[in-house]
């Protein structure tokens, strides 16, 4: 009922679509504050999405490749057992486990780097701090 109405100073004024002057509609808006802000925001959002996609790619690649290596190692168990098969299974599993363990660390490094490239250095420092602390904890044998 009142959907197309504006209220100003307690007076209900019906909303009327005011068409722009022809010259305004014809010419591009060049005032910096009008156009640059939305474009800049969209560019920042696009960069954030691209950064997230890189992080997702690192995680997915680690999961898929190490999962594939574990699957192949399980498949090799069905073959007749020999020294070569044992060595291959062992190598595949060690490689898959190492890759899986490195993946979250790589994700952390990629996230810190990408956020740093976007100017968010605070998160780069945090990521570096987490990596450094984890390194200290693992080398000291502390539980995390």
């Amino acid at each position: 009922m009142m959907a197309d109405a504006r209220v100003t100073h307690n007076v209900v004024v019906p909303a009327v679509e005011q068409p722009l002057a022809p010259e305004m509609e014809a010419e591009p808006i060049t005032q910096p504050g009008v156009e640059v802000a939305p474009v800049g925001r969209a560019r920042r959002r696009d960069r954030a999405v691209a950064g997230d996609r890189w992080i997702a790619r690192v995680l997915r690649a680690g999961a898929v490749v190490s999962g594939g290596m574990f699957v192949v190692s399980l498949g090799l168990e069905a073959l007749p057992q020999s020294e070569n098969v044992h060595v291959a299974i062992d190598l595949l599993r060690k490689g898959a486990a190492s890759l899986l363990l490195v993946t979250p660390v790589a994700r952390l490094a990629v996230a810190g780097t990408l956020l740093g490239l976007k100017g968010e250095w605070r998160y780069t420092v945090i990521a570096a701090g987490v990596l450094g602390l984890l390194g200290i904890a693992v080398s000291a044998g502390l539980p995390t």
Binding site: D52, A63, G67, K94, L133, L134
Partner: protein, 254 residues
């Protein structure tokens, strides 16, 4: 592989890693010694985190900045917990943690949340960072002292303490647990406790389960996820109270 799949899907949906399913399953159903089951379960937590978080980050459901911030305080807390482990009685800590978890679980089950949750990452801003950071520090310390994973504490902390949507909280928790899990597995592997023959089928199952769980999570209503999470918390609480009470219960969770 089936146990891994179940653990993976539950862990991916709730952001808890899945150790709560895997360790009891391995110990009680497959007669695997606890000292082999825990590192294998931790490896599955890492696999779960990688597989599920890939989808969550791609869909911008995980909050990377929040995750990084809380990760730092969690690791600091874990190191502090490891340093003071010799000075505190783990049974007492387990009882306190068990009672707290029981309180959170009952609150989630019985009290209806008054606020409507936004659906996407863009519709919210985390609040109360001091609480989140100090809570993560405590979660890290408890994880080192009791062997519990951070997820059961960090998801309610982010969701209720920092006003982060529940799904974002579990997706962010999923992202975070991979790093600390990897460090814990590395420590076990250096001591020779990681059995890759046991890990291989589990990880394959967990990766499949985590993929399914991460596909399901955005579609499952938040209220259902909260109820599931509350049930998981009840299990954690009972295990902690048992462990604290008897002083004998093995280090079941991560």
């Amino acid at each position: 592989m089936i146990a891994g799949g179940l653990a993976g899907s539950l862990g991916a949906m709730l952001g808890i890693g899945g150790g709560i399913v895997l360790v009891p399953a391995l110990v009680l159903l497959f007669d695997i010694p606890l000292e082999e089951a825990v590192p294998a379960s931790l490896m599955c937590v890492v696999a779960n985190s990688c597989a599920a978080a890939a989808g969550y980050v791609h869909n911008r459901l995980s909050d990377i900045r929040l995750g990084l911030t809380l990760e730092l305080s969690t690791v600091l807390g874990a190191i502090a917990g490891g340093l003071v482990a010799a000075m505190v009685a783990p049974a007492m800590v387990a009882v306190v943690f068990g009672l707290f978890t029981l309180y959170v679980a009952l609150q989630m089950l019985l009290v209806r949340a008054p606020r409507q949750e936004p659906a996407t990452l863009d519709d919210y801003a985390p609040t109360n960072y001091p609480l989140g950071i100090s809570g993560s520090f405590v979660a890290g310390g408890l994880s080192a002292l009791l062997g519990v994973g951070g997820g059961p504490l960090k998801v309610p902390l982010m969701s209720y303490g920092m006003r982060v949507p529940f799904k974002v909280a579990s997706a962010t928790s999923n992202l975070m647990i991979g790093v600390t899990g990897a460090a814990s597995v590395a420590a076990y592997a250096l001591r020779g406790h990681l059995k890759l023959a046991l890990v291989s089928p589990l990880v394959v199952g967990v990766l499949g389960g985590a993929y399914v769980g991460s596909m399901l999570m955005p579609k499952v209503p938040t209220s259902v996820l909260k109820k599931l999470f509350a049930l998981v918390l009840l299990v954690v609480a009972s295990q902690m109270l048992w462990k604290g009470g008897a002083g004998l219960w093995p280090n079941m969770l991560k």
